[in-house]
C-alpha cells in the first residue's frame, strides 16, 4: 500500500495548478476543505451540491477551468441534473474529482456508496472518465485533465494496486495469452492478475474507460479467443455495451464482474467483505475466469 492516498495526490496537484495556472479554480461543498489550500480560487459553497456544480458551470462560462470535488454520491448522484444541464447542455467543461468509490468506507453504509457513478456519467455524452489504480497514476491523469477543456470525471479510491503502471491513453497490455482477454479497470488489476495466474489469457489494464479503447480491445482479440472478462470496481457491466460495440462484428462471449446491481447490499464490515459479496475478490474473479476461459 502506498503511504500517500489518491486524495492527497489530488490536493497536491491541485495546489500546484492553482499556483501555476490562473485558469484553474475549485468548487467544493465542505468535503476536503481541510486538505485543500486557502486560496481565492477555491470556492466552498457549504453543503450545497447543486450549487457546487452550478457554480462550477458559471466559472467555466467565464473561461475558468473548474475542478468540482466531493464524495462520489454527492458529486454525481445528487446533482446529476446539474451535470446534465449546467455542464453538458451548456457545452461547458469541468474536472469532477470524486472520492469514496463504490465502498471505500463500508461502515458508513449506502448513503456514502456510489457504485453507479461511472454508469451515470456514461449516460451523458462527451465525458472522459479516469479510474486510476494507484496514487502515482493520479498526477499524470489530473495534470492532463486540467490542461484540457473537456468534461472529465476522475474517480479516486482508497483501493489501490501494489505498484503503479505508466499512464497511457488506451489500454495497457499487461500480459498476453491465447485463451481470452481480461479487461481490468483501475484498482482491480492486482486481484485480476492473481486470479488468472494459471490461465493463458491477455490482461488489459485501463485507467481511462471513456473514451473506451475499442481499437485496443480489437487488437487483443485478434491474438486470442474472442472471450472477454470485464472486471470493473463499480456497477457490474458498466462498460459491457462498449465491449459489445467494439466486437459487434465478432462472435464473442462476455462476462462482466462488478458491484452487483440486482439488490442493495445492506451490510457494513470491510472492503474485503464487500469484494467477496460482489465476487470481486480473488476467489470470485478466479472462478469467473475459469468458467469463461477454462472450457472449449
Amino acid at each position: 500500500m502506498s503511504a500517500t492516498t489518491m486524495r492527497e495526490v489530488f490536493a497536491r496537484v491541485l495546489r500546484t495548478g492553482l499556483a501555476d495556472d490562473p485558469r484553474i479554480a475549485a468548487v467544493i461543498a465542505e468535503i476536503s476543505r481541510d486538505v485543500l489550500p486557502d486560496h481565492e480560487r477555491v470556492v466552498n459553497v457549504g453543503i450545497r451540491e447543486q450549487a457546487m456544480v452550478g457554480v462550477g458551470a458559471g466559472l467555466a462560462l467565464t473561461g475558468l477551468r473548474p475542478v468540482i470535488h466531493s464524495y462520489a454520491p454527492f458529486l454525481v448522484e445528487r446533482p446529476y441534473e446539474q451535470l446534465k444541464l449546467d455542464l453538458g447542455h451548456q457545452d461547458l467543461g469541468a474536472v469532477l474529482v470524486g472520492i469514496g468509490g463504490s465502498y471505500d468506507d463500508p461502515g458508513l453504509g449506502r448513503t456514502h456508496q456510489s457504485p453507479a457513478d461511472v454508469a451515470l456519467i456514461d449516460t451523458l455524452p462527451g465525458w472522459t472518465v479516469h479510474v486510476p489504480g494507484h496514487p502515482d497514476e493520479v498526477e499524470p491523469l489530473l495534470t492532463a485533465a486540467l490542461a484540457r477543456d473537456d468534461r472529465t470525471y476522475l474517480r479516486l479510491s482508497l483501493r489501490t494496486n501494489a505498484a503503479p503502471l505508466p499512464v497511457v491513453e488506451g489500454f495497457t497490455e499487461v500480459r498476453r495469452g491465447g485463451a481470452g482477454v481480461v479487461i481490468a479497470v483501475g484498482p482491480v488489476l492486482d486481484t485480476v492478475l492473481a486470479a488468472v495466474a494459471e490461465l493463458d489469457v491477455t490482461v488489459l489494464y485501463a485507467t481511462t474507460v471513456r473514451p473506451f479503447d475499442s481499437a485496443g480491445l480489437r487488437r487483443a482479440v485478434a491474438h486470442a479467443r474472442p472471450d472477454v472478462l470485464l472486471v470493473e470496481p463499480y456497477l457490474e457491466g458498466a462498460s459491457a455495451h462498449r465491449v459489445a460495440a467494439a466486437l459487434a462484428d465478432e462472435p464473442h462471449r462476455l462476462r462482466s464482474l462488478g458491484v452487483r446491481r440486482d439488490e442493495e447490499l445492506r451490510a457494513y464490515g470491510t472492503t474485503d467483505d464487500h469484494d467477496s459479496a460482489h465476487e470481486l475478490d480473488l476467489v470470485g474473479v478466479r472462478e469467473a475466469a475459469r468458467r469463461l476461459f477454462g472450457r472449449r
Binding site: 457554480v55 475558468l64 444541464l85 451548456q90
Partner: protein
Amino acid sequence: MTTATEYAALPALITRMTGDEKHGWAAESTLDVLWVLYDRVLRVDPRHPDDPDRDRFLLSKGHGPMAYYAVLAAKGFLDPAELDGWAGWGSRLGLHPDGVLVPGVEIGSGSLGHGLLIAVGAAIGLRLRGRTRPAVHVLVGDAELDEGSNHEAIAVAARRGLDSLVTTVVDNSSGSLGWPGGVARRFEVEGWATAEVDGRDHDALHAAYTAPHPGRPLAVVAKVEAKR
C-alpha cells in the same frame, strides 16, 4: 434612439411566432422586463456578442421564450425572419432557448432552478478573472423559486457579497404555495438588496436596476398581472 419604435415592433415580432393577431403579446409576463434590460440596462452588443466585458443575461425561466426572442430580434441579435420557423425542424429557436445555438443567448434553459446557480458562478468567475465591469443578470419566475437549488444560490450569492449579480423575479403569482411576506422577503432575509416594482413600468424598472447596492446582490421583484 429608436426605442419607442422598437418597442412598438415587438407585438408584430411575437405574432410571427404565435400567429396571434390580437393582444395576447401584451400578456407576456417577461416582455417589459426584458425590454427595459436590453434597451436601457445591459451593456451588450449584437456585433460583439462574445465580448468578455459584456454584461451577462441568463434566462433561467426558459419556457415561454417568445418575448425573449422578440427582444433579441428587435435588438439585432436575431434576424426577425428566423422567428417564422421557430420550434420547427432546422430552427435554432426552440420552445426553450438553447445557449449553444442562439447568438446572444448565454445559457440553455427549460428545466427550472438552474440559471441562478450558473449566474452566481459567473459572477464569482468574473470577479476572479479581474473583470469588474460586467454585471450578471438572471431572470427567474416566482414559481421557479420553489426549486431548492435557488435557495442554495440565494444564500451563496449573499454570503459572498456578489454585488455584480442582479436577479429579476417576474412575479405573476404563479406559485401554488407562495412565500410568506412576499418573494422579496426570501432574498432580504439572506442579505440581498431588494426592490419591488410594477413589472410593466419601464421607468420604475430602470430606477430599480440603477440603484446602488454595494456589497450585496440585488433582487428586483417585478410584479405582473397574471394570465391574459
